[in-house]
C-alpha cells in the first residue's frame, strides 16, 4: 500500500484494515451497493489508499452500477496509473458493457505487466469463457493453478469452467480433487451437487449436500456398508436353535435381573424354599401336630412339585400381555413369551428341589435306585407345564377374563390334587377318577418314589407323556397360526 502522495499524516488515525472490514462485511453478505456507499465514506478518511477506490469500483460493478464504476475508475486511474486494478477492473467494466474484445485487450496488457498477480489469470480465464473460448480459458486457468498451487479461487474456477461447458462428468472429477485440497469449502460439495443433479444423479447430489453438513467421510464410508449389509442373513427366530437360544438367554437374563434387585441376590434361591419349609413345619408339625409321623415329608413331596407347576403356569399365563410392548416393536414369535416365563420359573425351582432331596434324605428316606424314576416323572411334569402354561397364555389375550380365573383355577386344582391328603383317603370308587387329574397322578408318582420306595405306574405315566407331547405339538402349531394375530389382539 504505497502512496506516492506526501500528505500521509492524515492516514495516521486508525489502522485502515479494521475500518475497511466495515465495508467488506456488507459485501460478503451480498449487499454491494451498501458496500459501495461505505467505501465512499472511507474514501473521505483515506483518499490516498487504493483500497478505498478499487473496493468501491468493485462494489459498483457487482451491484450493476456501471456508470458509477466508470466515474470512479476515471479518478482512480489518474491517482494510481500503475495499479494492476486499473487494467483488471477496467476489463471487468468492459465485460459488463458487453465489450469482451476490449476487455481481452486490457487483460493482454495485464498479463504482460502483472503476470505475478493471481487476479490477472483468473480474469483472463473468465473473460475467455465469457467469449465462449473455453480452451483459452482452460489455458489461463492452468497457468493460474501452476503459479498459485494453493489458491482456492484458481481451483474453484477450474471446476466451474467444466460446469460452464456442461461437462458434468469432468466437473464432478474436478470438484472431487477440489474437495481433497479444500475439504472445508462448501463449494466443493454444493456446486458439485449441482453438477451431479445436472448429470442425472440425484442420489449423489443428495449425498454431496449432506456431506457438506456432516463431513466428507460420508462420501467414503458408504463403500464399506455395501459389503456389510449383504452378509446379514438373519431369520434366526424361525429356527428351533435360534428360538432356544433366545428363550434361554432371555430367561437367564431375567433371573439375573431379578437377583440384582435384592441385597442377598442369589441366596434367595435357597432361602426362599427353606423359609417356606420352615413355615409348613411349624404349622403342621409343631402347632397342629397333624397327620402323625412323616406327615411333613408327605406334605413337602407333594407341595414342592405343585409349587413348581403353579408358579410356572401362573407366570406364563400373563406373559403375552406383559410382553406386548416388545411384541409390537420386534417381530419375534409369540411363543417366546410363555416359554421364557416357564423356563425362568422352572430354573428357580431347581434349588428348591435340591433342598427337598436333602430334606427327604434327612427324614430317613435315603436315595436308592427308584430315584432314577424321577427323570421320566420330572420330564412329564415339564411337558404338562408347557402344555398348560402355553395354552393359558394363548387364551388370555383373546379373553382377558381368563386371567382372573387363573389363580382360582389353580387353587381348585391344588385342592383336587391331594397335596394335604393322600388319594387313599377318599372313597375308593372316586379314586380312579381323582387320579385322572394329571397333577394328582404326578404327585402320587413323587411320593411312591420318595416315601414308598417303589417305581411309579409307568403305563399311565407313558400315556400322559404321549398326551402332553401331542398337546405341545398342537400348541406349537396353534402359536404358529396365531403369530400375526396376537399383536393385533394385544393392540385392540
Amino acid at each position: 500500500m504505497t502512496s506516492t502522495h506526501p500528505e500521509q499524516s492524515i492516514e495516521q488515525y486508525p489502522i485502515p484494515e479494521t475500518s475497511f472490514a466495515w465495508a467488506r462485511k456488507v459485501a460478503q453478505e451480498g449487499d454491494w451497493s451498501e458496500s459501495a456507499k461505505r467505501w465512499a465514506v472511507l474514501r473521505q478518511a483515506y483518499p490516498n489508499h487504493p483500497a478505498t477506490w478499487f473496493g468501491a469500483i468493485n462494489a459498483h460493478i457487482e451491484a450493476g452500477e456501471i456508470e458509477k464504476a466508470i466515474v470512479a475508475m476515471g479518478s482512480a486511474s489518474e491517482k494510481f496509473p500503475n495499479h494492476p486494478n486499473i487494467l483488471l477492473q477496467g476489463a471487468k467494466i468492459k465485460l459488463q458493457q458487453n465489450q469482451p474484445d476490449t476487455a481481452a485487450e486490457l487483460l493482454t496488457i495485464a498479463r504482460q505487466k502483472h503476470a505475478g498477480k493471481l487476479e490477472t489469470w483468473l480474469q483472463s480465464a473468465d473473460c475467455a469463457a465469457q467469449k465462449g473460448r473455453f480452451d483459452e480459458a482452460e489455458q489461463f486457468n492452468t497457468e493460474a493453478r501452476q503459479r498459485f498451487p494453493d489458491a482456492l479461487q484458481a481451483h474453484k474456477q477450474c471446476s466451474e469452467l467444466a460446469m460452464q461447458q456442461k461437462n458434468w462428468e469432468l466437473a464432478l472429477e474436478r470438484w472431487e480433487s477440489f474437495r481433497k485440497q479444500f475439504p472445508e469449502h462448501p463449494a466443493g460439495y454444493l456446486l458439485a451437487a449441482e453438477a451431479a443433479e445436472q448429470s442425472g444423479n440425484p442420489k449423489l447430489a443428495r449425498k454431496l449436500k449432506l456431506a457438506n453438513e456432516y463431513g466428507d467421510d460420508l462420501l467414503t464410508e458408504m463403500e464399506e456398508e455395501v459389503f456389510q449389509s449383504q452378509t446379514n442373513q438373519r431369520h434366526r427366530h424361525t429356527t428351533l436353535g435360534g428360538l432356544t437360544e433366545l428363550v434361554w438367554t432371555k430367561a437367564i437374563f431375567n433371573l439375573r435381573s431379578e437377583t440384582q434387585r435384592n441385597y442377598l441376590s442369589y441366596l434367595w434361591w435357597i432361602l426362599e424354599p427353606l423359609l417356606y419349609m420352615v413355615v409348613y413345619f411349624l404349622v403342621f408339625g409343631v402347632l397342629l401336630q397333624r397327620g402323625g409321623e412323616g406327615f411333613i415329608t408327605f406334605l413337602l413331596t407333594g407341595l414342592i412339585p405343585w409349587t413348581w407347576f403353579s408358579k410356572a403356569v401362573s407366570s406364563s399365563s400373563n406373559s403375552i400381555i406383559a410382553g406386548q410392548g416388545l411384541m409390537l416393536q420386534v417381530g419375534i414369535p409369540s411363543i417366546v413369551f410363555p416359554l421364557v416365563s416357564l423356563l425362568q420359573a422352572s430354573l428357580k425351582q431347581i434349588p428348591v428341589f435340591l433342598v427337598l432331596f436333602a430334606f427327604v434324605w434327612l427324614q430317613g428316606y435315603p436315595p436308592d435306585v427308584h430315584w432314577l424314576a424321577l427323570f421320566p416323572v420330572v420330564l412329564i411334569q415339564v411337558m404338562l407345564t408347557i402344555m398348560f402354561g402355553c395354552l393359558l397364555a394363548a387364551l388370555v389375550p383373546f379373553v382377558r377374563d381368563v386371567s382372573h380365573l387363573v389363580p382360582t383355577g389353580l387353587m381348585f386344582v391344588m385342592f383336587l390334587s391331594g397335596i394335604f391328603y393322600s388319594y387313599e383317603r377318599i372313597p375308593a370308587q372316586w379314586q380312579n377318577i381323582f387320579l385322572m387329574n394329571p397333577i394328582a397322578f404326578i404327585l402320587k408318582c413323587y411320593r411312591e418314589i420318595f416315601i414308598d420306595g417303589i417305581y411309579p405306574d409307568f403305563v399311565t405315566l407313558g400315556t400322559w407323556g404321549i398326551i402332553s407331547m401331542l398337546g405341545c405339538v398342537l400348541i406349537l402349531m396353534a402359536y404358529k397360526k396365531l403369530r400375526y394375530i396376537f399383536p393385533r389382539v394385544v393392540l385392540a
Binding site: P202, Y214, E221, M222, E245, R256, L326, Q329
Partner: protein, 239 residues
C-alpha cells in the same frame, strides 16, 4: 434402480383393527389401512409422508412383519426387516452389556454375532465403564445413547425409521445424526417415516404419501412433497 426386483412389495394392502367388544358393547372395526401399494427397492431410501393418523405406524407393522394384512399381499424377498427401536426390551436391572446382547438378539441376531459386535457398540455409545453397570444407574441420555448404538451398529436388510431421532446431548446428537445419515445414504435399504417433509427431501430417493390409509402419491421427493403440501392445505381449510 427401478429395474431391480423390489425386496419388499405391498399390493393393495388393507388392515382393519377390531375394537374389542364386551358383553355389553358390540365389537367395532376400524380401518387403519385401506389400500396401500408400494415397492421397496434394495439400497434405496424411501420416504413415507403422512399426517398423524394416516396409518403410518400400522404400515410399519405390516412391513416389519409383525402383523399380516387383511386384504392385499405383502411380498418379502427374504429380507430381514427391523424397526429402529431404541431401547427395545431394555431391562433396568441389567448392565448395558447384557441389555445390548438381549436387544441385539431380539432384533434377530444370534448371541455370538452380537457378542462379536460388543466392542464396537461399547465404543460407539461412549459409555465407558458405565457399559458394565446396570441401566437404572444411567441418565436418560445415556440410555438412549446405548439404544441408539445397538441399533446403529447392528442393522437389518431393511431398516425402518420412525422419524430421524435426536438423542442424547449435543455432541452425541451430532454424532448420532451423522451415523444415521451415513446409514441412510449407504447401500442400506431404509424406510423413513416422517411428517416433516424437509427430512424426506434431504434424505430420500423416492417418497410415498399416505393419507387416510391410502397411497395417494409416489415419486421423487420434490413431486410428492408438493402433493403432500396441497393435502395439508386442504386439511386446514376443511378444519
Amino acid at each position: 434402480m427401478m429395474s431391480q426386483q423390489p425386496i419388499i412389495s405391498l399390493q393393495d394392502v388393507g388392515v382393519s383393527y377390531k375394537r374389542a367388544g364386551s358383553l355389553f358393547r358390540k365389537t367395532q372395526y376400524y380401518e387403519a389401512l385401506k389400500s396401500v401399494t408400494l415397492d421397496i427397492y434394495p439400497g434405496e431410501t424411501l420416504g413415507i409422508l403422512g399426517r398423524n393418523g394416516a396409518g403410518k405406524s400400522t404400515l410399519l407393522k405390516i412391513i416389519s412383519g409383525i402383523i399380516k394384512p387383511d386384504s392385499g399381499t405383502v411380498i418379502n424377498n427374504n429380507a430381514s426387516v427391523a424397526l429402529l427401536a431404541l431401547q427395545a426390551g431394555f431391562d433396568q436391572n441389567l448392565s448395558g452389556r447384557d441389555n445390548t446382547i438381549l436387544s441385539g438378539m431380539l432384533q434377530g441376531y444370534g448371541r455370538r454375532e452380537v457378542e462379536a459386535k460388543l466392542d464396537e457398540i461399547h465404543e460407539f455409545s461412549e459409555l465407558g465403564d458405565f457399559f458394565f453397570e446396570p441401566v437404572h444407574t444411567y441418565s436418560s441420555g445415556m440410555r438412549t445413547r446405548l439404544g441408539f448404538s445397538v441399533s446403529t451398529v447392528i442393522s437389518p436388510d431393511v431398516l425402518l425409521i420412525d422419524e430421524v431421532l435426536s438423542v442424547g446431548d449435543r455432541h452425541f446428537r451430532e454424532k448420532a445424526e451423522k451415523a444415521m445419515i451415513v446409514k441412510i445414504q449407504s447401500n442400506q435399504t431404509v424406510l423413513l417415516v416422517s411428517h416433516a417433509h424437509s427430512q424426506i427431501r434431504r434424505l430420500c430417493d423416492r417418497a410415498v404419501v399416505i393419507e387416510a390409509g391410502n397411497t395417494v402419491a409416489s415419486g421423487t421427493p420434490a413431486e410428492v412433497i408438493q402433493i403432500y403440501e396441497t393435502l395439508l392445505d386442504k386439511g386446514k381449510t376443511v378444519a
